[in-house]
């Protein structure tokens, strides 16, 4: 039987200069892939600073610098969009300097 797949791309405004970009891919209603990107607007350009994803079935969190270069990549437990939104809502830009693999 052919499985049902859905791709959801979401852009969620947090504050005027902060947003979360999410990609979620569902196979038969199960979340098979996600990426949640915390973005900050600097000089009219959106820059990714933190990203949670489960590429190659390995949940991890990545941190990027202002030029978009990968700074750190650490294992993390699987995160849901709801959890990530709560983190972003509570910590905002402080997330950029926090040890996020532990939160």
């Amino acid at each position: 039987m052919c499985s049902e797949m859905i791709v959801e791309k979401k852009e969620i405004a947090i504050k005027e200069n902060e947003k979360l970009e999410a990609i979620e891919i569902y196979r038969d209603k199960d979340l098979s892939y996600y990426s949640y990107n915390y973005m900050v607007k600097v000089d009219e350009k959106w820059k990714r600073y933190i990203r949670w994803d489960n590429f190659q079935k390995q949940p991890h969190v990545d941190r990027y610098d202002e030029t978009g270069n990968l700074v750190t990549s650490e294992q993390s437990r699987d995160k849901s969009l709801k959890e990530v939104l709560e983190l972003v809502d509570i910590f905002g830009k402080n997330l950029i300097s926090m040890d996020i693999s532990r939160v």
Partner: protein, 145 residues
């Protein structure tokens, strides 16, 4: 107050998305190799690869934008809602055509489209000398609290 704009892509739009991703990376196999090699160093490529892979297996594509701007709701006058409803149901090729179809003055329709565009509800895509209004959402949800 949250405004949720939701759009399910038509099969034609999904084809366009697929073509766009494929042409950007020179084919699926190349994209797959590069995504596996670069991984977290190129996160957009990883996302494009996963999206492409799913769409090629027949996945449906939904776009959702969540805004916290009361201006979006304030922008929705009855005439503008009529415009959005019309664009949703018909293939409108230009602002002039839209004004004629709705039997309205061109300038008023143009002003309404600019207001809708500024609120992120439509795109005015350049198509030769015309500007084609494209609806960003097929569903708008207003959430209070």
């Amino acid at each position: 107050m949250n405004i949720r704009l939701i759009k399910k892509y038509s099969s034609v739009e999904v084809e366009g998305l697929l073509g766009d991703i494929e042409s950007r990376y020179g084919g699926v196999d190349r994209l797959k190799q590069r995504a596996a090699r670069n991984g977290c160093r190129d996160p957009d490529m990883v996302d494009d690869f996963k999206v492409l892979e799913a769409l090629q297996k027949g996945a449906e594509f939904y776009y959702e934008s969540v805004k916290q701007e009361p201006n979006v709701a304030a922008c929705l006058t009855p005439k503008r809602v009529e415009i959005m409803n019309y664009i949703h149901s018909k293939n409108v090729s230009s602002i002039m055509d839209l004004a004629e179809d709705l039997n309205r003055d061109y300038k008023n329709v143009y002003d309404d489209l600019i207001a809708l565009s500024k609120s992120g509800l439509i795109n005015l895509k350049k198509d030769g000398r015309c500007r084609k209004p494209i609806l960003i959402a097929s569903k708008i949800v207003v959430e209070f609290g």
